[in-house]
């Protein structure tokens, strides 16, 4: 575990200090979703929040995204509060489902945040075309979401999140609804995009292999109550760049095992 007393350095993008989250269940009892979470994400770092259902990993992501407010503790995103980070569009977010607007073309979906930020039409068009190129969907710009496969829809979602050029990309189990083949392809896509754009990525997942393959650092969360049970550095074992062949490496599998054991220790 990293030292929480360490002052926030310039290269720290997200800093979470002593965060706890309690909410009231329907029967009136308090439920602790998160207790005493401490976590720091460096600029350009790819961090995976890993854990089983109910461990509070999505809650934590929502706190970073200003969708939830912690009952205790401090959160700093991009050197400011989550709210300011949101208002200044410091991060883009990708959900488990693509969350596209059916009545907009692919291109218009990517342009949505730009419209909200009141970009000029030509600028929007230019930016969205570029983003669609990044996710290899240039040919589908004028299609509607319902014409695309699940994987393509999710890529549109990623393009949309990147359209505003945020420093941070928050991803909430983005590939969990996809089939294995599509997922592997998207893994390569996301790694390529990350290399190209140097975004800070916070990636929520319950898939250990996925976390190991993609991230620099895995934050293992355990449920009841949600807490950080381990933080594992991946780069030590699995150097960049990552290639699909690595998935069969002994080192890869040992790391997977190590992560799995970090659950069982609890």
């Amino acid at each position: 575990m990293e030292n929480i007393k360490e002052p926030v350095k310039n290269d720290i993008e997200i800093s979470i200090e002593n965060v706890s989250m309690t909410y009231q269940a329907d029967n009136g009892t308090d439920v602790k979703a998160l207790t005493d979470i401490n976590l720091q994400v460096k600029k350009g770092e790819f961090v995976a929040l890993l854990g089983p259902s109910g461990c509070g990993k999505s809650t934590l992501l929502n706190i970073i995204a200003d969708l939830l407010h912690p009952t205790e503790g401090n959160v700093i995103v991009g050197g400011t509060t989550p709210k300011d980070a949101r208002l200044k569009q410091r991060y883009g977010i990708v959900f488990q489902r693509p969350v596209l607007f059916d009545w907009r073309t692919v291109q218009k979906n990517v342009e949505l945040p730009l419209e909200i930020m009141k970009w000029k039409k030509e600028d929007r068009r230019e930016r969205s075309t570029k983003m669609l190129g990044l996710v290899n969907l240039s040919d589908f710009a004028n299609h509607y979401p319902q014409q695309l496969s699940g994987g393509m829809q999710q890529r549109v979602g990623i393009a949309r999140a990147l359209a505003i050029n945020p420093e941070i990309l928050l991803m909430d189990e983005p590939f969990s609804a996809l089939d294995e083949f599509t997922k592997e392809k998207l893994h390569e896509d996301i790694l390529r995009i990350w290399r190209k754009t140097h975004k800070t990525v916070v990636f929520v997942t319950h898939n250990i292999q996925e976390a190991v393959y993609l991230s620099d650092k895995i934050v293992v969360l355990s449920p009841h109550p949600g807490r950080v049970s381990a933080i594992i550095d991946v780069n030590e074992t699995l150097p960049r760049p990552r290639v699909p062949e690595m998935k069969t490496d002994v080192a890869f599998n040992q790391l997977v095992l190590k992560v799995r054991n970090s659950f069982e220790e609890v």
Partner: protein
């Protein structure tokens, strides 16, 4: 994709049913006609062809009009009057749904009363609303509006509620202001729901308008209906009105569907996609 020819095609099904219905009607009319106890079969169930023949009847039934002209003019009056009440009701219904979605207090206050409006026999209140307002035009609007109001606001509210949390979160994350969120997300999502409400409400508004017509001798289908029942015109005016009223009600339903097709982006897209599949 393999093209499947659907059998039976839709037009065949529809026409078989319509023919079946007409046959059933004719059978009933035949029974009525040949029942010695019944003196005036055309008052109970005339033959369909008799009714259709009356559409082309050139004999005047009032000072200046043939039965069909009477019905046609009445239809126009009823539709235009129902239209105004309908527009008022749908605007009010939409605004209330919007307010209910924006404010929890409004929602809590209004919801039980919205349910109540649905349960109260508004049409039975028509005469008293006329007595209250003192003006048949206003009371027609009030009644048509109240009847339109419930389905529109209930469906629109359901439309707003159908927006997924993630979609709302997305807009929140883009720091979109409330008007922007409504314009870009909430309204487009609720359009199909809104039109479902309109499709329910449109025939109701017309029923209301016809009923209010019967309250005072002020023209419209209901007025012509009650006049023909009072033996002031030929009884075929009555039967023509039954058919015209049904036709107007159905027309209003399909009109809403047509408007939806024009207005709703989603409908437009789906149509486009369907065409694309075929081509």
């Amino acid at each position: 994709m393999r093209k499947k020819h659907k059998f039976p095609p839709k037009w065949l099904v529809t026409s078989v049913w319509i023919i079946g219905f007409l046959l059933l009607w004719e059978f009933g009319a035949f029974l009525v006609e040949n029942n010695p106890k019944i003196q005036n079969p055309e008052y109970i169930l005339p033959h369909m062809w008799q009714i259709f023949a009356s559409f082309f009847d050139t004999n005047l039934t009032t000072a200046t009009q043939t039965p069909f002209q009477v019905v046609l003019e009445a239809c126009g009056a009823t539709l235009s009057r129902a239209g105004i009440g309908f527009l008022i009701g749908l605007s009010a219904g939409f605004i209330l749904a919007l307010l209910m979605n924006l404010s929890h207090i409004v929602e809590k206050v209004a919801f039980p009363y919205l349910m109540l409006i649905q349960v109260i026999p508004i049409l039975g209140l028509a005469p008293i609303i006329l007595a209250l307002t003192g003006d048949i035009g206003i009371s027609r609007m009030v009644i048509a509006a109240i009847l339109t109001f419930y389905p529109v606001s209930a469906n629109t509210l359901a439309g707003f509620k159908s927006v997924s949390t993630e979609q709302k979160q997305l807009m929140f994350n883009y720091a979109a202001k409330i008007p922007v969120t409504y314009w870009k997300l909430m309204f487009p999502t609720c359009i199909p729901y809104f039109f479902t409400g309109l499709k329910t409400a449109a025939p109701m508004a017309i029923t209301a308008s016809i009923l209010v017509d019967t309250l005072q001798g002020d023209g419209g289908l209901g007025c012509a209906l009650s006049q023909s029942l009072k033996h002031n015109t030929t009884i075929y005016v009555f039967w023509e009105i039954v058919i015209a009223a049904a036709a107007v009600g159905i027309f209003s339903f399909y009109l809403m569907g047509m408007i939806e097709n024009m207005v709703s982006p989603l409908q437009r897209i789906n149509r486009k996609l369907k065409r694309g599949d075929k081509g």
